[in-house]
């Protein structure tokens, strides 16, 4: 079986100071490689500044890589071809509030990706929006709502709706559950599990919470200082962590 996503030697460096004689760079991500199978969930864990958000941004196409390549279904993703990428890889952010446009109704926000990426006509778009809203547990009436009229949990549902409306193959969630209340978080976890079952999506989950990772993920990458220091199946890594750093990350897990 071929992997859905293959990352080869992907790396990112930021130039810090450039003079005629000397270049100083900050390495946000050392060259990394990994694979993700279709319908599986990969979690990325690490402390702040360990490069996990850089990695997510690179995969989602928000950041241009300095080296390496990403293959989706064996096909190389062009770093600057957003149309190709937007169809297949979608992202959900931590702060649903900030990632939705306060001036647009939910309906028109959800319509935008369809306008840019599909050739659907107006009634087809509307139908798709209603269908997606129902998929994430909202109602068709929510189309005319503005973001401020919704609760935090509902806003995160809308961000998920916006992400899945193009039937992507991969969803990248950057700390999407971190700021939610625990009952809302459980609702969103259930939603994500259901959607994965129905749509056979793969997830890349960035999280600091060992509990969430253990519950949701199949595989886990542990990152430190822009490097992957440990990777494997969640049970293997969590039950027998090899690195001290991994142990300290897992220590915060409740007993």
């Amino acid at each position: 079986m071929k992997p859905l996503l293959e990352v080869r030697e992907l790396g990112k460096v930021y130039p810090l100071r450039q003079s005629f004689f000397r270049r100083t760079v900050f390495t946000a991500l050392q060259p990394t490689s990994f694979q993700l199978m279709a319908g599986k969930t990969l979690a990325i864990m690490g402390a702040n500044g360990s490069g996990k958000s850089t990695l997510a941004g690179l995969i989602a196409g928000a950041i241009q890589p300095s080296q390496g390549e990403i293959l989706l279904n064996g096909q190389r993703l062009q770093p600057d071809n957003y149309r190709q990428r937007a169809q297949h890889i979608r992202m959900v952010f931590q702060d649903a509030e900030a990632s939705l446009n306060p001036h647009l109704t939910i309906g028109s926000q959800l319509e935008e990706p369809l306008l840019f990426n599909t050739g659907l006509n107006q009634s087809q778009r509307r139908e798709r929006v209603v269908h997606t809203l129902q998929q994430v547990g909202l109602l068709a009436e929510h189309m005319v709502f503005y973001p401020h009229m919704l609760s935090t949990g509902q806003k995160q549902r809308v961000s998920i709706a916006r992400a899945i409306i193009l039937n992507p193959q991969l969803l990248v969630a950057d700390e999407a559950l971190a700021t939610l209340d625990s009952s809302v978080r459980a609702q969103i976890i259930n939603l994500l599990l259901d959607l994965q079952q129905d749509l056979k999506m793969s997830y890349i989950f960035i999280s600091q919470s060992p509990e969430i990772v253990r519950h949701l993920a199949d595989d886990v990458l542990i990152m430190k200082d822009g490097r992957i220091i440990e990777q494997g199946a969640v049970d293997t890594v969590f039950d027998d962590p090899q690195e001290r750093y991994t142990q300290s990350l897992l220590l915060s897990e409740l007993t």
């Binding site: 700021t179 209340d181 599990l193 253990r214 409740l254």
Partner: protein
Amino acid sequence: MLLDIRNLTISRDTPTGRVQVLERVNLQINEGEIHTLVGESGSGKSLIARAIMGFLSSNWHIQADRLWFEEHDLLTLTASQRRHIIGVDIAMIFQDAKSYLDPNLTVGEQLGEAVLDQDLSGRWLQRRKQRKERVIQLLHRVGIKNHESMMTSYAHELSEGAAQKIMIASAIAHRPKLLIADEPTSTMEPATRQQIYRLLAQFHARYGMSILLISQDLGAIMKETERLSMIYSGQLMETGPTRALLDKPHHPYTEALLNTSLYRQSQREPRSRLPTLAGTEPSLQHLPIGCRLGPRCANARPKCVQTPELSKLRDRAFACHYPLNLEEKE
């Protein structure tokens, strides 16, 4: 009893009439106790803290049968009397520590302001030196070893954990009897959270300082917490000793939060659906009558449209007509 709150009601005028944001909440804190108040965002838990501190502006209406700190009735005090008591005996730390530090002053200058004059023994000319020594001592106490560089730093140069430590240092500068911590760690990564909790527990053990910890998540509370209070949508749901409450919750809301907080995760299949409350938290304009959990509660019955009284059972209390886990009563 250090803090005694009985039937605290906080309401606010809205275009559609006065809304009781907080409805008849009881809270008692004994001396030297760590008490955690758990509630989801918008449940009014920060309002309680703000009412104690007197931070609420005049468009909030506070009524209470009792709002006592030690022997002082906080409701009848004038602003200056209140400041006198609260400034010395109660301290508060906040969620986003960085935004509560003064961006124009260095850490050393800010902490210097927090040191009280009566703590300095020397004459006028020696005070400057003493103040500095005291600041260094405070920094060491919150676990910051490189005091030299820290004292000349500005707020924007600090990490979140360091900023919160500075907040704690200035909060404990005059050894308060009660420290109110309003979600001090909710935006921190788990390792830093543990550090801050360890620090708080240390001060609790060393000075017998009481702590009122306000938390969003049952999964992220201090393990030293002696008592827990659950609050939902402005109503007190349940209160009691931590262990008993977590092992055998009487209120359906506690049970639901326990299930969703991944606290009991070891008993659960990975990738299974989590049991959770249906629906969303009611908005202030559409508060349900009676028990506000009613519309979302799994075992709600017609009687739940009457607000349940707080029933006491040994050292626990709960507000529910149909409590769970009550075998011994039958």
